[in-house]
Amino acid sequence: MRLERYRAAIVGALAVLVSGSAGIGHAYAADARAFRMIVGEPRFLDPNLATDYSIYVNAQLFEPLARIDNKGNLTLLEAKSIEVGPDNRTWTITLDPKFKWSNGQPITAADWEYSWKRILDPKLSSEVAAFLVDVENADDYNKGKITDVSKVGIKATGEYTLEVVTSKPAPQFRAILALPYLTPIPRAVVEKTGDKWIAPENILSNGPYKLVSRVNDQSIVMEANPYYGGNKPAIPRIEMTIASGDLCTAQLRAYEADEVDFATCVPSQDIARVRNDPKLGKELSPYPASATVWFQYDLSRSPWKDKRVRDAFALAVDRKAIVAAVSDDTAHPTDVVVPESIPGSNPADALKGTVEDAKKMLAEAGFPGGKGFPQFTITASANRGQPLIAQLLQQMWQEKLGVTATINVLEENAYRAWVKARKTEPYDLMLNQWYSDYADPSNWFGDLVVGDYRNSHFSNATFNDLVKKGNAEPDVAKRIEIFHAANKILEDEQPMTALYNPVDLWLVKPNVKGLQHVGVLDNFYIGEASFQ
């Protein structure tokens, strides 16, 4: 019979099918003890250049001097001690020699000095340079005003001692020294291989992991650094897959299919389902971000010049509705721009009033019932739920104030370009946000408002003076008082109306222990986690 001839083949085929289908299914990891996650392609693996979400990847590889935890306490890492001299300007950092590069070579103060001076090198065009402006002559060197790099106040005074001098007494500099951006780099490797020093075959790292392989836009693999001077990581291997497009959706789907151990965000429309899911709900880990989402006005134009208009608009906003729609109530509505966790903030400064007050103010400004109010545009990015917020605001103002808005949604890069162009170009309203770079009032009051990074064209002499005074004030309590006063002015003037403080939502598999939200940037350190 024909079948006899083919029996062997049939049995063979079945065997292949059965063994093959055993491989189909969940748990795709090559190594069961590897930590799997999905990340966006890091713009820079070079810690001297990374200021965006790349830092979350780099934080596994490179370690700074110290770290500031959620309570504001400084924990030393690569440094044995950080002291400031009586002039409040000279910082002496003693490095801990037990920390070595991932090839076993010692990390000397020369590496640190080289790295930080490289950050300031105008040819590198690094965005990290902005964090070292307090250092003596750093800004001048970075802007090209002086060319002698030895004038910059960073010097290796010994094999393991580093001295940093600030141009003015700056007590907040201790926090700057703990920023994750300020790590050392291996001088010898960088000098030899230049831009290619971050390739897996060249790179050396001082953190708990070292880079084993990197395929751009595809994957990043790390393994434990055998020469790491701190606590050896319990997880030996990290496998990161790169996603483009919707990162949160890709992560959630992979998480639900058991293909990753960790997800750093949940897509807005899935938040409710995840929270109510008996299994996923327990694995959800929220963390209030030190950030605020707001809308702001172009204060150089009418009708936004008129404070009554701004107040009316602010009072007509229903923040609860926005938070419900955008984050299923996980975010926190807020009336003040500077988050509570930043010293100097004060929720009591918020604008007070009802919708009736709003209507009255609009009438006082010359637009009773919204009559005669020009049609205006709300500009938003296509990401982060901003189109939803814009639509909510549009309807709120239409109903309560009788004013008409149109919405303009731009894709992310076009949106950023548009925001930058607003320095000289007019606009009406825009949605924007700010995430703290570090937990200090100077980041919000100084960088954001005085520096007008978001181009609201707000300028108040008293406010600027207060911020300047506050930045130079060494006494902690007095400093907070000064910033409190500044906050009052900020909220009174309402150049931006705060909406909510976003909350980061993580999903962590139950067998992963020790993965914490750390600090203002919501870092995670896989080297401190373990599988159970």
Partner: protein, 319 residues
């Protein structure tokens, strides 16, 4: 995706009476065609009658957002609590307007270019067709994305300068203008090729030559002889362009360069629905079925139209 200009047909009726009888026969033989026409009629009716629906397509109701279909809301509510039925109906209107207008623009451009190239012939023809070839070498979706980003970037929020009136029009149209221009500039290729080959074959027909000898101007010939006889081809082109425009609009919305909110269009609804696929599948199913059914119907009608006009096409190709 630019469909190729290859015309093939199903069997045409043996007898050869006038067009009307052929049409009737086609309908009787083809129930799918009848169903498709009925569906399209429903879609158009929904688009026109949308103001009569109980709920407003723009009315937000956060407390009842993402609601499943119920007696109150036949297709449920979306992420801001707006009635999906109303949004589907208004979306039908927007999508139809976008599809038809952009097709009009695309066909107009294609007709002009095809007509000019075919009629002038020689070097002008070669140059123009070279340009058309290079446009063919440009992948369509990617060209659309480039143009959309460009249009949005230049027109959105611009209140000064040369582009100001266009920017104003953009704002008044709620972002539709951007999508219209994008689709119009992307989809004209097939039309131009079809029209050109038609014109090439018609150009040397006897009645055209006679007209020329009698002293008719070029415009007269184009207007009276070439255009009307190109109508079948133009209609065939339209049957390719319209479904393509609808799909392309959905693609642009997914990238984020589609119609501005809060205007509902099937493209934006589908792009939004994909984000809720696991949590609120009804947000995807409703517009997906709407688009799918409409496109299916358009394709069936397009096939039928192409069958109908095929004798005309084949005759012209032989000539």
């Amino acid at each position: 995706m630019s469909a190729p200009a290859v015309e093939t047909t199903s069997v045409t009726p043996a007898a050869n009476p006038g067009r009307g009888t052929a049409l009737l026969r086609l309908v009787r033989r083809n129930p799918a065609l009848v169903a498709s026409l009925a569906l399209l009629a429903i879609v158009v009716a929904a688009a026109i009658l949308s103001p009569l629906l109980p709920y407003d397509a723009y009315r937000q109701d956060i407390l009842h957002r993402n609601a499943r279909p119920s007696l109150q809301h036949w297709f449920g509510t979306d992420e801001l609590g707006r009635d999906m039925t109303a949004r589907l109906a208004v979306g039908a209107r927007v999508s139809l307007i976008v599809a038809l207008t952009s097709s009009l623009i695309a066909v107009a451009i294609g007709v002009v270019i095809g007509m000019v190239a075919g009629y002038l012939g020689g070097l002008s023809d070669s140059t123009i067709m070279r340009f058309v070839d290079s446009m063919y070498a440009f992948p369509e979706t990617l060209f659309a994305i480039l143009i959309a980003s460009l249009v949005k970037g230049q027109l959105a929020g611009q209140s000064t300068g040369l582009l100001a009136p266009l920017a104003e029009a953009y704002r008044l149209s709620g972002g539709l203008l951007g999508v219209l221009l994008t689709l119009g500039f992307t989809c004209w290729l097939t039309t131009s090729r079809l029209v050109r080959s038609q014109v090439l074959s018609l150009k040397n027909a006897e009645y055209v030559l006679a007209s020329r000898l009698a002293g008719a101007s070029h415009t007269f010939i184009i207007r009276t002889h070439l255009l009307p006889n190109s109508l079948p081809v133009i209609l065939v082109a339209v049957t390719f362009v319209v479904p393509n425009a609808i799909l392309l609009e959905a693609g642009l919305s997914f990238i984020g360069v589609g119609v501005d909110p809060p205007t509902p269009s099937w493209g934006t609804m589908i792009a939004g629905g994909v984000q809720s696929i696991q949590s609120y599948p009804h947000l995807l199913i409703a517009p997906a079925v709407a688009i799918g059914a409409t496109l299916l119907a358009l394709n069936v009608v397009g096939d039928a139209l192409r069958d109908l006009f095929d004798p005309a096409l084949r005759a012209s190709r032989r000539g």
